[in-house]
Symmetry: C2
Amino acid sequence: MTRGLECYDCGYTSDDQTESRCRCGESLWFSTDTNEFAWPTEAWTNGMWRYADVLPVSKPVGVTPGGTPLVRADRLDEYAGCRLSLKVEAQNPTGSFKDRGSAVGVRHATEIGRDWVGTVSHGNMALSTSAYAAAAGLECAVFVPAETPEQRLELIARHDPHIFRVEGDYGRLYEQTLALEAPITFVNSDTPLRVAGQKTVAYEICEQLAPSVPDAIVLPISSGGQASGVWTALRELEAAGLIDDLPRLYGVQAAACDPIATAYREGRESVTAVDAAETIAVSIANSDPPSGTRALAAARATDGAVVSVSDDATRKAMDRLATAVGLSVEPSSAVALAGVRKLSDAGELAADDEVVTILTGSGYKERYETDVESRTKTIDLEALEAELEGILEGSEGDVSRQTNDR
Amino acid sequence: MTRGLECYDCGYTSDDQTESRCRCGESLWFSTDTNEFAWPTEAWTNGMWRYADVLPVSKPVGVTPGGTPLVRADRLDEYAGCRLSLKVEAQNPTGSFKDRGSAVGVRHATEIGRDWVGTVSHGNMALSTSAYAAAAGLECAVFVPAETPEQRLELIARHDPHIFRVEGDYGRLYEQTLALEAPITFVNSDTPLRVAGQKTVAYEICEQLAPSVPDAIVLPISSGGQASGVWTALRELEAAGLIDDLPRLYGVQAAACDPIATAYREGRESVTAVDAAETIAVSIANSDPPSGTRALAAARATDGAVVSVSDDATRKAMDRLATAVGLSVEPSSAVALAGVRKLSDAGELAADDEVVTILTGSGYKERYETDVESRTKTIDLEALEAELEGILEGSEGDVSRQTNDR
């Protein structure tokens, strides 16, 4: 039911599915007719492919992305200042939300007879694209910044892509790959094929909560591609009559690198590059986001906002997720929960608002500076019973975890 | 529909759900009446809790385990020597199959009013139990060998358990914790609560393939707890009339530490401890498996077998999964695929056999010795177009990945 590409901003349309950019400079996305769309009847074990009718490709490829849990996290309500649910995108095959877009992009490449796919990324997207290319039997070119640490490349290299460490302006590289006339499908983070795949997360959230509709969806923003996907999905579901109101869309960035939040704060209509500082949220540290203006438009059009949070707030949110929900996420995901708290404090979210936070990626793929020492004790096997008695007694009356304090 | 505990071997039954061991020495499991059981009608997004009717607990806790993909991996058929499907247990909340058992054990602990849970593990089970205890607001005691590397403890520590590095005989520690009279629920790897949770993977496999039934299920074996869970599930599904024949159960161990395979090979009825050597399959290197004899019985009763594979075969299987299916698994999971190949070569599996392999855990939680160098090239942004042309030309006629050679 996709009808070719269109520009959300100037209305340009195109039938050439290999385009990415509109003549006006904005990014294109797929236009999809959802007037006849109803919630699918197939099993959820088909994951995102349940929504094949609204995707530009029909057949699955690789391990099934999507069908991830939506968890009501009432233990975090007081911390979050609202009724919080978590969409756990870490439970995709390569541990992040990127698998949805990679699967669509790679399948499309095979459908038009391409032997190669490519991407510009040094993290989740590089890993995901490499894995899906491998599953489809395609060659994959991954362009990473020259300084990408070997440790991260090791994960990517397992899926046998061609890795190019590129010296030069990384922002320019992103656009340059899209302009290449080589027979290679680039599935960069805000390209139409990827956005089409990413949108399925919003389809799932709405179907999992149906007939309720969340008051707000809060997600991390980097390139703006994922926010664009969620926005287009909500518009499509509204056109299908499956949701009455669009949830408010809130984007969250790291304060050290927040071009979209800055534009929102300053009341501007378009996003421009910023000078970024270091942040622990490396996966979303995009100082010149290609779909930044579109993400900004999504937040404004839905009565949402774009905010940024400190690394300290992000660390605390990560810790809350790990110790109160049992979920380890990467800092670039935890920013979303830190953002929820900030938005509640600012009165943007109310205590009875139903809020869904998209946790984009697993924390288990990296090592963090966790305090292991204070949680660890070395004992002798012979002392086991005594040790155990000691801790059980020591914790009496103080045994319940303190998770509801703010 | 659970009716208390029973011993598969001597028939002893008990209503005391905190027991773990039979008087005969074998491990107990839950007896479950499945005569009235039918495939559930709820959505698959409820994961393993769809099978709450056959579990000893009713209410979910933590992030939903289960509902993992079952993927037909035809690109590996030639390598595997059969029609291969993969059950991707890496897509559970903490990246391994252990979440199923942890969720049941932790929920049970809350239901009987316990403030503490515990486990004896230095890997996936420790991580999983810590995460589910955190989600339930319980304190968690994790007993690890004194020499467990800090890097692995860091993942576990995120969920804020009490970690005890124990100096002494680790095998004895396992049994000693189960005999403790302290008010703490130990969810060790072959305890009845854990086995009850682990069995849901076999319910899912059979439901995902229904009305077909796989000819064989191949899985890694360590303590024997998971194999016990799969066996009891298949017996329950047969009693329910949902499968006619039991699939043959095959267990796979690492050759360096293969007490169950050794007992099978030698035609013995019970498993005894072996002197183990080093193996890359650290998660299954159990030289004295507490449910080894039960796992052996499962293989024999279903006309299966228990075999072991070399680390070299395991490395090759890992690489195949990563480069032909896009799945990175830990060595202790890859042994199962290496086992499939070995069983095919031995004539145990036929080319038209439908075989399901359980891939127990993600490979992304650890770093391996992947050859990054040969896959990586440093280039200048200005040279991008020329570089790309070079690789595209260089690969002409040779572009399809070689995945079907044996």
